[in-house]
């Protein structure tokens, strides 16, 4: 009898890992809410679409009772704090947050924790200790670019760095990682640095302005959303195309593919998949299920290389961002990896 029970349980675990949508009875009555602060670019749009797709199936399969998404209109911390207060009153069991500020929501998050609600923050994380954090290692994202380049260009050379929006935490982190990488591989030198605001047209204008005064550039290190603009600027200036690290946008991958087919161009592309919202969903579900989960988890990067370019391009929506949706099994792997 007991052996049979153990067998059944392990079979259930196995089925869970293989087909994550098969219901786990413990959370079938639970309600999860997504509190999102901004929806005004293609990455956030993809994030919401992924959430919608994965949670709808999970609700249908009876894993959770409901998983509603809410987005604030103004990208304001005060507005989002009010939104979280509402969610507490509505009796959600877990709140998944992409936060407008790492600290300004702490009061509301604490109130939610005190009401017995599980709070999981991702991408835009909160510092309140009672909440879980699914953070991105932005420093490593910057450093890994230089590491990749050191293999491609053993002799090194001049780098052009395209940064993001000045004064934003993410921009400082990625840039610090890149500078760390340059220290680690001193054959590289940053010859110029511009702010591209993570937008193709801004990056294009900034690069076009500095390019005439730059020496030969061996590679361009980027932060995502700016690689295609840089490529356009190099083309317009009729300069040889350096290795430009891409950021998983469809137009960047499309351009890369064209170059690859024409002259064997090689580079890599790295960013965070918008589907990270679904990872946060499964982590919240696991916590509700009573699993022991560390408070700080790390999101895996979505990296595209020469040999995985074609298949990623096939699955990326035209004009969108390369994406993966996470399964319950992926969440379990991330949770196990943090221990």
């Amino acid at each position: 009898m007991t052996i049979r029970k153990i067998l059944a349980a392990s079979a259930a675990v196995f089925v869970c890992a293989m087909a994550p949508l098969s219901a786990h009875a413990d959370t079938s009555g639970k309600k999860i809410a997504l509190s999102n602060n901004y929806a005004g670019n293609s990455w956030r749009q993809a994030m919401l679409t992924s959430w919608d797709k994965v949670t709808k199936e999970a609700v249908k399969a009876g894993v959770v009772a409901s998983a509603d998404a809410f987005t604030t209109a103004e990208n304001q911390a005060t507005e989002q704090a009010a939104q979280i207060q509402n969610m507490i009153l509505q009796g959600y069991d877990a709140i998944v947050i992409n936060a407008a500020s790492p600290t300004a929501l702490n009061g509301a998050v604490k109130a939610a924790c005190d009401a017995g609600i599980t709070v999981v923050s991702f991408d835009g994380i909160v510092t309140e200790p009672c909440a879980w954090r699914i953070a991105v290692n932005f420093k490593e994202m910057g450093r890994s670019q230089v590491e990749y380049l050191s293999k491609k260009l053993p002799k090194g050379g001049n780098l052009l760095e395209i940064r993001g929006l000045a004064g934003v935490f993410v921009d400082d982190e990625i840039s610090a990682g890149i500078h760390e990488g340059v220290k680690q591989f001193p054959q590289f030198k940053i010859a110029g640095s511009v702010h591209g605001d993570w937008a193709q047209d801004v990056a294009q204008r900034a690069v076009a302005g500095i390019l005439p005064s730059l020496p030969d550039i061996a590679a361009v290190v980027t932060q995502g959303g700016d690689g295609y603009g840089a490529a356009q600027a190099f083309e317009a200036a009729k300069r040889p195309t350096p290795i430009i690290v891409m950021g998983n946008r469809e137009d960047e991958l499309q351009w890369w593919k064209k170059q690859k087919d024409a002259n064997g161009y090689e580079t890599m592309s790295v960013s965070i998949a918008p589907g990270v919202s679904t990872l946060a969903f499964w982590v919240a579900q696991q916590i509700l299920d009573g699993k022991d989960v560390k408070k700080d988890l790390t999101v895996p990067f979505l990296r595209i290389d020469q040999d995985t370019l074609d298949e990623n391009l096939k699955t990326t929506q035209k004009g969108g961002v390369a994406n993966v949706e996470y399964s319950q099994a992926d969440a379990e792997k991330v949770i196990a990896g943090a221990k």
Binding site: Q45, G167, P212
Partner: protein
């Protein structure tokens, strides 16, 4: 010295002087070898600022309180819808331009309807309109990037005898606006309204009609800019217009147009647009950090405005 006086008294001379100085400073960094590449890049990107700047200039000429804040949203919507309409089909390039212009007309008319019929101040009317227009752009393509037709992309990034086509398009529009402002009765009317709306009305100028045309012109210029910008940068994006709100106002002010209205000039818009691009390039070239760069940009702009508005001998 006397021969120089008429030139020095022009309000736009300061923006050109500043542009020339920053150009020289940037080119000197490489001993002059970058001059050709830099001037090409400058002409291209300045042309976009010129297009939106011209429209904003006409609106600001109308006098205190007149400003169009819907420029960025109009750029985004026209770029998005025009490229979506063309669907990379080269035969649809001209109809696509027409779509952009119609969007400009519609936004301009809606702006003025809010201002006139609902009596909302322009600054609030155009701001709320920009939310509507931006939401329409988000809703219409969900942030996906649409490619321009190949022929149009080639045209917008191409050159004629070394001069970028975009700069030529900007020059053409500038001539049209210069003629309207300096040679046509319409130009007299907007200046008169800007100097005193009451006196203008007494003098029999159709104040409402003139203001209506001005807001529509501004939106149409922004729409054309959006169409060209989206084709130039390889696709429309939701945030493509953001840069051009402050830019459109800054080039008007730096170009030596009166902020209170009633007195504007077209050459200043060009000088200021060239300068705005060059000053960022110069500070990037010399490798300043973002904080210092933004601070210096602010200080330099203040210096140019002060110089441009300083009363000279012989002027009041």
């Amino acid at each position: 010295m006397n021969a120089l006086k008429p030139v020095l008294s022009k309000p736009w001379i300061w923006s050109w002087l500043a542009a020339a100085l920053t150009f020289a400073a940037t080119a000197l960094f490489t001993g002059g070898s970058s001059a050709f590449g830099l001037s090409q890049a400058t002409l291209t990107f300045a042309a976009f600022s010129v297009m939106v700047g011209l429209g904003q200039m006409l609106v600001i000429t109308l006098g205190p309180g007149n400003v169009d804040l819907s420029v960025p949203a109009t750029i985004t919507l026209s770029g998005t819808l025009a490229l979506k309409f063309m669907e990379t089909e080269s035969s649809l390039i001209l109809p696509g331009l027409l779509v952009a212009i119609v969007i400009g007309l519609a936004v301009g008319m809606a702006n003025y309807a809010l201002i006139k019929l609902l009596r909302i101040p322009p600054i609030i009317a155009t701001l709320s309109m920009s939310f509507l227009v931006q939401s329409l752009a988000i809703w219409s393509n969900r942030g996906l990037r649409i490619k321009p037709p190949e022929a149009l992309a080639t045209f917008t990034t191409g050159t004629v005898f070394g001069v970028p086509n975009i700069a030529l398009a900007g020059l053409l529009l500038s001539f049209v606006i210069w003629w309207l402002l300096e040679r046509s009765i319409y130009g007299r009317w907007i200046s008169a309204i800007g100097q005193s709306p009451f006196a203008a009305r007494m003098a029999g100028i159709p104040v409402d009609g003139t203001r209506f045309v001005t807001y529509v012109l501004c939106a149409v210029l922004a729409a054309i800019c959006g169409y060209l910008l989206a084709s130039f940068s390889g696709g429309a994006a939701l945030n493509m217009g953001t840069e051009y709100l402050l830019m459109s106002i800054a080039v008007v002010v730096i170009g030596g147009c009166a902020v209170a209205g009633g007195n504007s000039n077209v050459p200043g818009i060009w000088g200021a647009s060239l300068f705005m691009f060059l000053v960022v390039s110069m500070l990037n070239t010399y490798g300043f950090g973002a904080g210092i760069r933004l601070m210096l940009t602010g200080l330099i702009i203040i210096a140019v405005i002060v110089a441009a508005s300083r009363p000279l001998n012989g002027r009041k």
